[in-house]
């Protein structure tokens, strides 16, 4: 599904990712871990096409296409989704309306008929229930005045509605208390299937107790320094990054 080959990329001319290669297949859950500043968020921004980040060399292929040739909206319409670490607040834009527009953009791309607000209401209701979200969040402005936890739930609500093929969760666990984390993780588990894939970016292994990764990669100073199965995450939980990084 996704193939990253020797990717070098950065921000304002400085190289942050220094040669990353990674293959993600359908049905897989990958976790990318690493200390602050290791390049985890840069990787996620590059994947969704943020204009402030630049690719210096390397390739990214998504479903057989050159991902780097696609605009951000084309990537989204092709089924790529990033749940942001810091979701943007958009005062004045009604959340339900925004979700319906995003949903319709996807339907349009698939050549299907768009849904009207009434039909969309049913879809939205079901997904909000799945995440235990209060109905008041449908009528409020997108993320405006939401608590940290509600913003994260709103990201997963978008994931639930758009049903992406490849989802990247960037620090989805930050700002969530343990109960909210459980709800969000259960929601995510219900949304992934054998045809979709998940990349979980986190520096705390706790989330991985709820969403079990098939592969764990440790990123440090812009490189994947080690990869393994979920036991690598347990190892990190017990002994920390310093121990591991000293070893490699």
């Amino acid at each position: 599904m996704l193939e990253i080959n020797n990717l070098r990329a950065g921000f304002e001319g400085s190289e942050i990712l220094k040669g990353i290669s990674l293959t993600v297949n359908k049905g897989e859950v990958h976790s990318i871990m690493g200390p602050n500043g290791s390049g985890k968020s840069t990787l996620s921004k590059i994947l969704v096409g943020h204009p402030s980040y630049e690719v210096m060399s390397g390739t990214i292929t998504y479903e057989g296409k050159d991902l780097l040739e696609l605009e951000a909206e084309e990537r989204a319409q092709a089924g790529l989704f990033l749940a942001y670490q810091y979701p943007v607040e958009i005062p004045g834009v009604n959340n339900a309306e925004f979700l319906r527009m995003a949903y319709n953009a996807k339907l349009k791309k698939e050549g299907k008929e768009e849904v009207d607000p009434l039909d969309f209401d049913d879809i939205l209701n079901e997904k909000m229930k799945l995440l235990g979200m209060d109905q008041k969040y449908r009528e409020r402005s997108v993320n405006d005045g939401f608590s940290g936890g509600e913003k994260k739930k709103n990201e997963i609500l978008q994931m639930a509605i758009l049903q992406p093929k490849l989802t990247i969760l960037d620090e989805i666990d930050s700002g969530l208390d343990i109960d909210a984390l459980r709800v969000v993780a259960n929601g995510i588990n219900k949304l992934v299937n054998k045809d979709s894939a998940l990349i979980i970016i986190t520096h705390f292994p706790r989330l991985l107790e709820y969403i079990e990764p098939d592969y764990v990669h440790v990123l440090s100073e812009g490189r994947i320094v080690t990869s393994g199965d979920k036991s690598l995450a347990h190892d990190l939980e017990a002994r920390g990054y310093d121990h591991l990084l000293a070893k490699v």
Partner: protein, 441 residues
């Protein structure tokens, strides 16, 4: 001729016109003392030269040097069909139509108004000594030269008086219609006084529209709120773009009163809203919001002075402008917290969305504080569409144009969503966003 000469000639012409008018078609004798006092005030204040403090962002040379003909009432009767799109279903049977400054009872429909609201012409109401003194006092205190012109040429006005303990359920609408002129430019000087007695509530819509353009609507409006009165006001300046629109609002707020206003402006050659607010009673509450959407060379300027004279009052201001082409806006707002007005809370926020390189937005929020236990802040932003918000929407699959449309309309929506009247709100959104070639979602 230099600018200064043009302006001085304009002043002489006004005085001459005043004298001629008195000879040929006398103004209302009951208002003569107001007219004369106001003309004296005009002669003292004079048309603004460059860098006049009150007009630092507004070029009024055009207005001062134009030879306007004063008009009161239309030259020929107006076809009611022209108005039907501008009367909202919610206020169908409580609408006051003022044509070229004159209250037109035939075009108005006040069938729903009961005895809790009194409508009187100034001619009738001026017999009341309190009102007469109030009007003379506003003339004396007038610092705005254009408002003094209103006083000098005033022939009549309208007094809306809500009697104590009345909650008016549905909105009252005032529609100012300017017939304008196909020939030489005309001006009208409407005055509307709205007085709410104790424990009253009124929703009021004031809209201005025009037919031929080429007019200067120079109005004064007074809002006097007694104890525990609530006024929800929506104003819409929707005159054609070959017109000028000035309005001076005197707002007096007593104890526990609430004044909430949202003003939307389409802009034209020059629109200027001047608010002078006195919060004279404890726990009065003011909310002053404005939105303007400007294209071509349209202009809208706001000049606000809020006097916190009593303790424990609150004032909130939110002004937003969306500017494209060579549009121009300014906000000059000062909150003055008087000595003894402790526990004042005041917020001023100005946001400008500039969609072109040639638009201009001047902002000058200001605070003058003479009390020590207060909470006041002000802020202003000028910017383009936020790149972060745009990217967020694009990363959810929205096309760039669609995302920009959504963000532009959302910028206006934060002000418009405060409007209660559904049909007015819908019409406003549609009209303002259409100006930008943007559809509401």
């Amino acid at each position: 001729m230099t600018n200064i000469e043009l302006i001085e000639n304009g002043e002489e012409r006004v005085v001459k016109k005043f004298q001629e008018t008195r000879k040929t078609s006398p103004l209302n004798p009951k208002l003569a003392s107001i007219n004369e006092k106001a003309l004296k005030r005009f002669e003292t204040l004079k048309f603004p030269h460059r860098k006049h403090e009150m007009f630092s962002f507004v070029d009024t040379k055009d207005l001062a040097s134009t030879d306007f003909q004063y008009r009161y009432g239309p030259e020929s009767p107006l076809n009611p069909e022209l108005l039907k799109d501008f009367i909202y279903p919610e206020s169908r049977d409580s609408v006051i139509v003022i044509v070229d400054g004159r209250y037109d009872t035939a075009l108005s429909n006040t069938s729903r108004l009961d005895k809790t609201i009194e409508l009187k012409s100034l001619d009738e109401a001026i017999g009341d000594a309190e009102l007469n003194n109030y009007l003379l006092d506003t003339v004396d205190r007038e610092e705005d030269v254009f408002a003094s012109l209103n006083g000098a040429f005033l022939r009549d006005g309208l007094m809306i008086h809500v009697l104590s303990n009345s909650q008016i359920e549905r909105p009252l609408q005032i529609l100012h219609v300017s017939t304008g002129s196909k020939g030489s430019p005309v001006t009208t000087v409407p005055r509307v006084i709205v007085k709410l007695e104790n424990d009253t509530k009124l929703d009021l819509i004031i809209q201005s529209i025009g037919i031929d353009g080429n007019y200067f609507l120079n109005s004064i409006q007074d809002f006097i709120l007694d104890k525990s009165a609530t006024l929800n006001l929506v104003q819409w300046q929707s005159d054609p773009n070959n017109s000028w629109f000035f309005s001076k609002s005197w707002i007096t707020l007593s104890e526990d009163s609430q004044f909430k206003s949202t003003t939307a402006s389409n802009g034209n050659r020059l629109t200027r809203h001047h608010y002078h607010v006195r919060m004279t009673g404890e726990k009065a509450d003011l909310s002053l919001n404005g939105i303007s959407v400007l294209c071509d060379q349209e202009q809208v300027h706001n000049y606000v002075r809020v006097h916190h004279e009593a303790p424990d009052c609150r004032s909130d201001q939110l002004f937003k402008n969306i500017i494209q082409d060579e549009g121009r806006s300014s906000i000059d707002t000062t909150v003055i917290v008087h000595e003894g007005a402790q526990l004042t809370e005041s917020h001023q926020l100005i946001n400008n969305l500039l969609l072109s390189d040639d638009g201009v937005a001047d902002t000058k929020p200001n605070l003058m504080i003479y009390a020590d236990d207060v909470k006041c802040d002000h802020g202003a932003t000028i910017g383009q569409i936020s790149e972060d918000q745009l990217f967020y929407l694009k990363s959810r699959g929205l096309a760039e144009d669609e995302a920009k449309t959504l963000l532009t309309s959302s910028f206006a929506n934060t002000v418009l969503q405060e409007i209660d009247c559904p049909s007015l709100k819908a019409r406003l959104k549609e009209t303002l966003l259409n100006k930008l070639g943007v559809k509401d979602v």
